[in-house]
Symmetry: C2
C-alpha cells in the first residue's frame, strides 16, 4: 500500500543481501526503515515487535533463515536458526509454518545450494502472502458491498476492527483490512472504527496511520467503545485478523477480540475474521484450552510512548509505583461467535469440515490433525 | 479510607468556609488538594474531573450550592447555580438528585437562613453517602465471603472491577470497592483485577492507587483482558459502580462496562453493581434508548499523561495527526446481564418491582416513574 503516495511493502531484500523492514515501534510518529544483517537481527526485530502481525512474522522468519544460511549453511546452524526464530513469539502459527517451509526446501540439499534455494522460497512466501491477501480482499469486499447495498443513500458502511491486521501486519494489503482497501479503491463509501488496542496501541498507532496514508476515512476509539457503538447501530460489520485459527474455527487474536465478538453476537452484527490459510493450525481443536497465550512485559501496560507537544518521543508511566501489572497478549474467540472466516479461497463457516474441505493439501502435511496422525 | 496511613475523605469544609478536594487529575503521581471558593470553582472542578464519580459529583454539587449562596442568596442566583452545576456533566444522576435536595431545603426559606441550611444539608448529603457506602460494603462483603467459602484453602477471591468506583469516587468507602475494603479489613484473602479504563485511565490511576494506599492486593490490566481471565477461571466476581441505574435495572457506567458484563454472562461469572440509591433514576426505563451518553474531548483519547523516568509529568500524543477520534464516556449494560444490585438496603435483582419495593419513598418524589406521574 502507499506511504506518502509511494507504494511500499513491509519487508524487502536490499541490494547487499540484507533485509529491509519498517521499524513499526516508531510509528505513527516517525517512519524509519532498518537493515537486518543477521539471524540475531531478525530474531530481535520479531521479539521487539519492529515487525509484527502473524503473516509478516512468517515472512520475516523465512528471511531470517536466509540470513542464517548466509553466515553458515551447516545442519547445526540450520537447526539453531530454526529454534532461535521459533522462540521469538509463541502464539502466531505462521511463524512455525514459514520455518517448516524453509526447513523442508533446504534440508536435503547440498550446502552450496541451500542459500539460493532459501532466498527463492522466502521471496515466494512473501509474494504468496501478497497474492493471498489480495484474494482475501476480493472475497471480503463482497461482504462490504452487500452491507453497502443495505444502507440508505449517502450512508457509509461502518467497519470496526481491532488491533492491526492491515498491510503493516502482512507483506502487503493486510488480512482484515484487505477487504477495506479493496472496497475503498472500488469507490464504496466506508468508514473504519479503529480500536486503539491497548496495551501496545497498534490500532491507534498502526491501523490509523496506514488507513490515513491510504486515505480511508476512520476514527480511533478506545477499546471500551465498540459495544456501545453496536448497541446504537453504528457498526455494520466487524473484521479482525488472527494469529492462529484452530481446525474447528476458534480464533486466537489480539487480547480483547473476544469481547468485541461477544458484543457483535449480542447485537446481531456480523463478525468476520480475515486470514491467510497458513494461519490455520490443523493440529489444534480447542483454542481456549490448547493455544499458548503469550504474556509480555509489564512496561507495555504500565508505560505509554508518544510524541510531546514539542515533538520529542517520550515514555510516561501511567500506573502507580508498586502496583502489579498483567499483560496477556491474545485471547481466543470461540467459533460459535464467528460469522465467517474470510480466506483466500472464500468466506468459510468456522467449522472443521469447511476448513478441511477448502484446504485439503494441509491435511497431508506435517501439520495434519491429530486424529489423522494417529 | 487511608492515604499514607491517615484517614481522609475526598471532600471537606475548610475552616474559612471554602471546600477542600483532592485534585484527582494529578493522581497517581502527585497527591494535591485544592480549595474551592466559588460556584465557578466547583463547576470547573466537576467538569474538568478534579472530582469525579457519581456520588462525589453529587456531594460536590451540594457544596457548590453553598458557595453560590455564600456569594448571593437571591432566588435568581440560586437558579443560576442550579443550572450551572447541572450542566457540568450530563450522565450521572446523583448530580441532579443532590441539586434537587439542596433546592428543596433552601427554596422556601428567608434569605438569611438559606446559607446555614444549605451547609447543614450538604454536610448531611456527604455523611449519608458515607453511611450508604458502609452499608453497601456490608451487603457486598457477604458475596465475597460466599465466594471465599467456595475457594480451595490458600486461594484468594478474585474480584474484577472497571473504572474507579472506590472511595475516590464517593465521599468515603466507595460503591463497587466498599465490599472489597470491608472484606479486606475482615481478613478475607482477595485480589482485585483493576481494568486500566481507557481513555482517562481511572483504573490505572485511581483504583490502583487507592487500593495500594489501603494495602489491598491488586493487578492492573488493560481493558481488553477481562474476557480472557474469565475464560480461564481467574475471576470469581465482577463488581462495578454506576452513574445511573434505570427503574428497570439497566446500568449506565463507564464505557466498556457492557463488554465485561457480556463476558461475565458468557462465562457464568456473577456480575454485580454497587450503588447508593440516589443513583437510581426512577424516571427512566430503557437505559440504552433514554440515558444521554456524554461525549468528551478527543484529547482524552489522543493523548496520555504520565510521569517520565526523571519525574516530570508529561502529556504525549498517541494517535496520528489527522486521525479522527471519538470519546463516548459511558455505556449501558442491560438488566438481563446484571446478577444483582448491591444497594444500602441489600442485594436486589435488577428489576422494577424489587427497586420500587426497596425504595418506596423515591416513588412519592419528583423523580417518580412516568407511569405513576401520568
Amino acid at each position: 500500500m502507499k506511504i506518502q503516495g509511494r507504494h511500499t511493502r513491509t519487508i524487502w531484500q536490499e541490494p547487499d543481501g540484507a533485509i529491509g523492514i519498517i521499524d513499526q515501534t516508531l510509528l505513527p510518529h516517525r517512519f524509519a526503515t532498518v537493515k537486518l544483517q543477521t539471524l540475531e537481527d531478525v530474531a530481535h526485530a520479531i521479539s521487539s515487535m519492529q515487525v509484527r502481525g502473524a503473516p509478516l512474522i512468517g515472512a520475516a522468519a523465512a528471511y531470517g533463515m536466509c540470513l542464517a544460511l548466509r553466515a553458515d549453511a551447516s545442519d547445526e546452524h540450520l537447526e539453531r536458526a530454526y529454534a532461535t526464530l521459533l522462540a521469538t513469539r509463541p502464539t502466531a502459527i505462521n511463524l512455525k509454518w514459514a520455518l517448516d517451509e524453509m526447513l523442508a526446501v533446504v534440508r536435503n540439499r547440498p550446502r552450496e545450494e541451500r542459500l539460493p534455494t532459501a532466498w527463492r522460497r522466502a521471496a515466494e512466501i512473501a509474494d504468496e502472502d501478497v497474492a493471498i491477501n489480495q484474494a482475501i480482499g476480493r472475497h471480503g469486499c463482497a461482504l462490504i458491498e452487500a452491507a453497502a447495498a443495505r444502507k440508505k443513500p449517502g450512508e457509509r458502511v461502518n467497519v470496526l476492527t481491532h488491533c492491526n491486521a492491515g498491510w503493516l501486519a502482512t507483506v502487503d494489503w493486510g488480512t482484515a483490512l484487505a477487504p477495506v482497501y479493496t472496497a475503498h479503491d472500488k469507490g464504496i463509501a466506508l468508514h473504519v472504527w479503529a480500536d486503539e488496542t491497548r496495551p501496545r496501541n497498534q490500532g491507534a498507532a498502526l491501523t490509523a496511520w496506514e488507513l490515513g496514508q491510504h486515505g480511508v476515512p476512520h476514527t480511533v476509539i478506545p477499546d471500551n467503545t465498540g459495544g456501545h457503538l453496536m448497541q446504537h447501530g453504528l457498526v455494520d460489520l466487524v473484521i479482525v485478523g488472527t494469529d492462529r485459527v484452530t481446525a474447528t474455527g476458534d480464533v486466537c487474536n489480539k487480547i480483547g477480540t473476544y469481547l468485541k465478538a461477544l458484543a457483535a453476537h449480542d447485537n446481531g452484527v456480523p463478525f468476520y475474521v480475515g486470514l491467510p490459510s497458513p494461519t490455520i493450525d490443523f493440529t489444534v481443536s480447542d483454542g481456549i484450552a490448547e493455544i499458548p497465550i503469550e504474556q509480555r512485559g509489564a512496561d507495555e501496560v504500565a508505560t505509554m510512548t508518544g510524541r510531546t507537544a514539542d515533538g520529542r518521543i517520550e515514555t510516561v508511566r501511567i500506573v502507580p509505583d508498586g502496583s502489579a501489572v498483567a499483560n496477556y497478549a491474545f485471547d481466543v474467540t470461540p467459533a460459535r461467535l464467528v460469522t465467517g472466516l474470510i480466506t483466500e479461497r472464500g468466506v468459510l463457516p468456522p467449522a472443521r469440515g469447511a476448513l478441511a474441505q477448502a484446504f485439503p493439501e494441509r491435511l497431508t502435511r506435517s501439520d495434519q490433525p491429530r486424529s489423522v496422525a494417529r
